[in-house]
């Protein structure tokens, strides 16, 4: 095993090489883990402020300047809340579920490249790692629902799991697109391949699909019918109280921002920004760019009404899944043809290589791919619109029929 950086310093200081290596890994892990930990505390404040502004309120403003310390006050409140475990629950699994839920989200951060020099680890299979780890969260929800030993919890868990697995298909198909363009699953290589041109311009549709399905993966509105906190029981976490309940929520808050970071890494060029490259500024760019999808996600959450489960499922299986498959097929086909006519930058072996290409070299390819995406989208949007209005008409007719029927009696 190689021993560089901090490990090297420790070895020179007289530490045993094995121990030094372990220590350097441990310190790295602690640093990477602390990023989501610190972020989540401020995310909760930001999210409450934004939600309040959208709903024409002020939001937390009592504790500390601008209510900044509010989250800590809530944390202390949660710490001294009574925490009830139902008598009929499966104690071990009941307690394990919230831990697994938050850990699954935190694990994603291991592969996030913050700057060219600061990242947890650069796995060769980074993109697949992220999907695999995210699926642990699904299992956590299933476990929580079953271990609570409650009808509503179990039903809620079943519904949420059915929804999560359904939306994972377009998510993974959308993920194939940056992997194909970069020719690697490593998050680091994917960012590097966007040096000349961000993937959002080459594959806007893939980004849109990824965004919609990751919104569903977090269980946020308009896909929050399982939870529907304002009208139904809470779903799979109905029996949870105190800190364990808080952990499910922390996982959700963190997941939304994690998705923002992932979209930035996969589609918005990670740490790149035209004409300005420095390690620390790179970190700032990543954070700033991650806020764009994060803010849009909050915006949608606070403005779009909740959908029914049959609508959500129909939207996924009849629009998102076919669209994501068509998207991959069209992109694969077009890039193959563009390579034949020489519009795609290639390396000396004739393989596609976007990493070293400049903006100008990538422009023709990008324009063709962008137009193809728009062309795919147009009929789909039309179809969606027509289906929506048909549904509305049918609903209205049914309502009128019911009224007439009631009056006739």
């Amino acid at each position: 095993m190689d021993c560089t950086g901090l490990c090297e310093v420790l070895t020179q200081g007289g530490t045993d090489p094995g121990l030094a290596q372990f220590l350097s890994i441990l310190i790295g892990v602690v640093l990477v883990v602390s990023v989501p930990l610190v972020t989540v505390i401020f995310l909760i404040w930001i999210e409450r402020k934004i939600a309040a502004r959208i709903q024409d309120r002020i939001g937390p403003n009592r504790v500390g300047p601008f209510g900044l310390v509010q989250t800590f006050a809530d944390l202390i409140k949660l710490l001294i809340k009574e925490d009830i475990t139902p008598a009929s629950a499966d104690r071990l699994l009941y307690n394990a579920a919230p831990i697994l839920s938050l850990a699954a989200v935190a694990l994603i951060w291991a592969v996030v490249p913050f700057t060219p020099y600061h990242f947890g680890v650069d796995l060769e299979i980074g993109a697949l790692y992220f999907v695999a780890v995210a699926s642990l969260g699904t299992l956590a929800i299933m476990t929580a629902g079953w271990a609570s030993n409650n009808k509503y919890a179990l039903l809620g868990a079943f519904r949420v799991v059915a929804l999560l697995v359904s939306y994972e298909i377009p998510l993974v198909f959308a993920l194939l697109v940056p992997v194909m363009l970069a020719g690697s699953m490593s998050m680091f290589d994917i960012v590097n391949a966007q040096a000349g041109m961000w993937f959002v311009f080459m594959a806007p549709l893939a980004m849109l699909l990824f965004f919609i399905s990751s919104q569903a993966e977090t269980g946020r509105a308009p896909f929050d019918l399982i939870e529907a906190e304002s009208e139904l029981v809470a779903g799979f976490n109905i029996e949870y109280s105190g800190m364990k309940f808080g952990m499910f929520f922390a996982a959700e808050f963190l997941h939304v921002f994690t998705n923002g970071v992932l979209i930035t890494v996969l589609f918005l060029g990670g740490w790149y920004f035209p004409g300005w490259q420095m390690p620390l500024i790179a970190f700032m760019w990543l954070g700033l760019k991650a806020f764009i999808p994060y803010f849009i996600s909050l915006w949608i959450r606070n403005t779009v009404p909740r959908l029914r489960i049959d609508q959500v499922m129909r939207f996924n299986w009849f629009f998102l899944v076919p669209l994501s498959i068509v998207n991959v097929l069209v992109l694969a086909f077009l890039v193959m043809i563009l390579k034949e006519i020489g519009w795609v930058p290639v390396d000396e072996t004739g393989a596609m290589a976007l990493a070293d290409a400049t903006f100008i070299e990538l422009l023709p390819m990008t324009i063709v791919l962008f137009i193809s995406n728009v062309l795919i989208c147009l009929p789909i949007i039309n179809r969606l619109r027509r289906t929506g209005s048909d549904d509305r008409v049918a609903d209205e007719q049914r309502a009128q029929h019911a009224i007439a029927h009631a009056a006739g009696d």
């Binding site: 095993m1 890994i25 441990l26 883990v33 989501p36 944390l75 949660l78 710490l79 001294i80 009574e82 925490d83 009830i84 139902p86 008598a87 009929s88 919230p98 831990i99 697994l100 938050l102 935190a106 694990l107 947890g120 680890v121 796995l123 993109a127 790692y129 030993n149 409650n150 009808k151 179990l154 039903l155 799991v161 059915a162 697995v165 359904s166 994972e168 298909i169 993974v172 194939l176 992997v179 194909m180 020719g183 699953m185 109905i238 029996e239 800190m243 364990k244 808080g246 952990m247 489960i309 049959d310 129909r314 009849f318 076919p322 498959i325 991959v328 097929l329 694969a332 086909f333 596609m352």
Partner: protein
């Protein structure tokens, strides 16, 4: 051995990341009031005592969604290497990947035509 070094990081991460939620839950366990009684720890359903089994009968629909997901998930197993190698594939190999996707789309179209994808 470089690869294993990377995975050692993931291994340590795997052990440490549960500590993130365990710390606050543990602190809460120390601080919170513990005055459990029989009424409090009953199942929270609607105020009335719980009737019957928790394991109510579920619909096969859930299973079918899970099933289609499983098939697509396994498809990913073979498609991801194809996507990674895509940039250096010749036309024949590329067409093999397309045929693979088409064959699976057949199954999806079948499910669509049979109407099992509609939530009833």
């Amino acid at each position: 051995m470089d690869v294993l070094n990377e995975w050692a990081f993931i291994g340590v991460f795997l052990v440490l990341s549960p500590i993130l939620p365990i710390l606050p839950i543990g602190a809460a366990w120390l601080l919170r009031p513990k005055r459990a009684n029989v009424l409090k720890s009953q199942t929270y359903e609607c105020g009335v005592e719980t009737v019957g089994d928790t394991w109510v009968q579920f619909r096969v629909q859930y299973y079918i969604y899970g099933l289609i997901f499983l098939v697509f998930d396994v498809e990913m197993v073979l498609l991801f290497p194809w996507a990674v190698a895509y940039h250096k594939l010749d036309f024949f190999a590329f067409a093999a990947g397309l045929l693979f996707i088409f064959l699976l789309t057949d199954a999806l179209i079948y499910a669509w035509r049979k109407g099992v994808l509609v939530w009833r």
